[in-house]
Symmetry: D2
Subunit: 152 residues, 4 copies
């Protein structure tokens, strides 16, 4: 299972101070995610989360399009950004992640993911979202997250 990347108060979540994503935060703990991304996140005044990154050649596949695994990795990170408030600091894991590949993403495009918690009751949190490439929908995804207790 994939561990919680969305603890609201966590010293592993670093504020970016320069570059395209200045003002956004990024994680400094997920070996795989850091190499795949890094991905950036922020929350608006209403607590609504958004995740993003800039498509680079290293995110592509042999055909010159973004690899499906890259988009799914981004989605598996974004769902925790969307669920931050519902998680309320709890540790959590992904139980199910499903993606519909709507269109291809290319080098240089801005990949953004927005979404929502469709239900947060008890330990199970349901999420859905859409990832876009320069505003064009490329991935529609749903996920089920399960809380597994407070962090140490």
């Amino acid at each position: 299972m994939s561990e919680d990347q969305a603890v609201s108060i966590d010293d592993r979540l670093k504020l970016v101070t320069e570059g395209e994503f200045a003002g956004w935060s990024t994680w400094h703990s997920d070996a795989f995610e850091q190499r795949a991304g890094p991905f950036y996140e922020r929350h608006d005044a209403d607590g609504r989360g958004i995740a993003a990154f800039r498509a680079e050649p290293r995110h592509m596949n042999g055909g010159g399009f973004m690899h499906g695994g890259c988009l799914m990795t981004f989605a598996d990170s974004a769902i925790f950004t969307f669920a931050r408030d519902a998680l309320a600091g709890d540790h959590a894991v992904t139980v199910n992640l499903s993606g519909d590949f709507l269109d291809s993403a290319r080098v240089g495009e801005l990949i953004e993911a927005t979404g929502e918690v469709t239900r947060a009751g008890g330990k199970t949190i349901f999420v859905r979202g859409i990832a876009t490439a320069d505003g064009r929908p490329v991935l529609s995804f749903t996920a089920i997250i399960k809380k597994v207790g407070k962090r140490d």
Copy 2:
């Protein structure tokens, strides 16, 4: 969409001649997949495909377990290994990829994926599979692949 990684005859598919995966083949073209993996594949006498890799610290997340995105990237590669014969050299893309995270995988474990084509009719190919860690099921996945024409 994620491009076909499973063309049966493709000079980008290289035979591994040494190390743990000697005798297996691996792709030399998918920027993202090479950095995420590399992953290895082979087919038995019946044409049944299997994919595998050894879990390393770089595949993990902050919790010390394999990142869900790593498993989904592996699955998005393995489905083309399973569908090799059904693709018959056609170029194809992933339309849907869904994964149930059954258990966590850890550093040092051998990650293997086996699966089957549940239906291959016309341009749409349906696949399902299971990924294991040292033989323990960690991901159950299904995918829909769409052929998009012959390669150049």
Copy 3:
């Protein structure tokens, strides 16, 4: 596969003239769907579709909650209501239908489904939606529809 229930001009789609769903339309051709429902649909000025029905004892399961199969049948019908314009009269089939059961629905509640086409390119149409019970989310669903040619 489940056949298209959403052809915009079809003499099987009857206008309801009385009762709770007066002004809505319902299908008179789907044996299974009629017995499961009937379900009702309408489109607003922007062509956005909505589907609905009133929960009755015959829609429930042994526990007194709406059966998951009833909600999935309703969703498999609603996706064609949402995709009406994208289908443009084409015959189509469901390729994938996935549902997250968010909450239980009870006898007497108004079940409504709203949704959107996330991508309509070529023959493949991607849809997602939410079904509610008296406004409370009970099912989050995604579907992939494939056009299979013009109707006779």
Copy 4:
């Protein structure tokens, strides 16, 4: 959510004594499921479950093929047949149900579903299965079931 239809000892599960499904059991409590089906189930000596029913005109849609909702209702019932031992008498609900529609089923065909529990740990049970029509795969499905405590 859809209630548990798989309690191993339950007076609502009746043995069929005549007709095509003599020797199988069927449920006498699920209003929706009884009208959709009824569906029949049995378990072999190894506890492996199988579910089945005979396709009738009332299961079809306007195109003369089995309605996707009928197949999903059957799948939502079959997953509890497969999970009988893992449930060990616990009450449970479906959290996610996903189906790939592989082919169409027609009137008169024998619809059967076989499957397996891919993981049963704690309160969450993962299942996958295949439904066939006269032996021809028509639906590949996965589901996540959550135990919600002992029955009264």
